[in-house]
Assembly symmetry: C2
Homo-oligomer: 206 residues x 2
């Protein structure tokens, strides 16, 4: 599962003069540091030092620290990219649109295995750092900001809590009837919940 | 963490003529078989054979197969017992009452560690059998039957999916703001969701 491509011919064997190994070394360093120190506790400078490269090279390959974090998670899709069209239409109905995007990704055979690996990592010791203090604030909360809702720092974790529970039962535990429930029924059951978390009266916000 | 009490005096050392070791052997056998074969795929007879005892002894120590299963999960509390008072008042407001019971158990320092161990087991290979095909249908769905709601086989898994997601974020990932949210705010946010799953219009039921 290395990020370095394996040359198909003997003639091309050996360490290449740049990109793939450097990129892989940066990712390895990032994964290790984010898992132990969390997103806030990890600097691009430290990731660069761990990989033995200049910080500028980290930005060159991966862009911002947020982007580096998402790359280190090794997701099959970038949530910020695939959810963007669902956000573009604004808060009305965003619960259903986002849910349909998420179900589409998880119901895709090609994506499910790497996503399951990430879901399992929630319960590893690094899960608190990587997900609780990384994925949620760095990737999920900004989606609420892009959507233009109030209190994204409160509403998006509520949204995430229902998505996480649904994913656990439908895809990890394969608990019936959720595991084989048609998408439209899942949407009928969950979209009102998600929409309320995004835009409804929660009873304790100003 | 053995079920056998450790004698405090040397004079009492050695295998006792019955109860503790037999009980522990039955539990060991039950845990192993439920984890590999699931609830439906495990018979009391097989558990007894695995422990080298008569099936009647299994019933003597543990009661029904359901009770044996709950004992094998080694929960700090029996969900059927602690939730019973919340069910007794009927479906109206049951979402909030059950949520308050669940939060009370999880916010109790003494209970949290063994519960976290069980929550982590969700993602182990045995999780699908133990939780998806055991805990949910054997322990959680009957709560819906006791409550007297329609479609407990559909409504209780929806209920469970929100509870699982809330527990993951609040107690396992310790994600803010959920980790330190006052109980009354958690109830304000989640009770309407849970009540709808228990008794509301889900949009796809007869």
């Amino acid at each position: 599962m290395s990020a370095s491509p394996t040359p198909s011919r003997g003639a091309k064997r050996g360490r290449r003069p740049g990109a793939p190994d450097t990129r892989a070394a940066i990712l390895d360093s990032a994964r290790e540091l984010f898992a132990s120190g969390g997103f806030a506790g990890t600097s691009v400078r430290a990731v660069a030092a761990g990989a033995g490269v200049d910080p500028a090279l980290v930005h060159h390959y991966f862009g911002s620290k947020d982007d580096l974090f998402v790359a280190a998670l090794e997701l099959p899709v970038d949530p910020r990219v695939i959810v963007a069209p669902a956000l573009a239409e604004g808060p009305d109905g965003a619960g259903e649109r986002m849910l349909r995007v998420i179900l589409g990704v998880w119901d895709n055979d090609e994506h499910r295995l790497p996503l399951l690996a990430m879901a399992r990592s929630i319960l590893e010791p690094s899960g608190e750092q990587l997900i609780g203090r990384g994925f949620l604030p760095v990737v999920i909360e900004p989606l609420g900001e892009m959507l233009g809702i109030d209190h994204p720092d409160i509403r998006m974790p509520l949204f995430a809590s229902q998505i996480v529970g649904l994913i656990m039962l439908r895809y990890l535990l394969e608990a019936e009837p959720l595991a084989s429930m048609p998408v439209d029924d899942v949407v009928a059951a969950y979209a009102p919940t998600l929409q309320r978390y995004l835009t409804g009266d929660l009873g304790f916000l100003d």
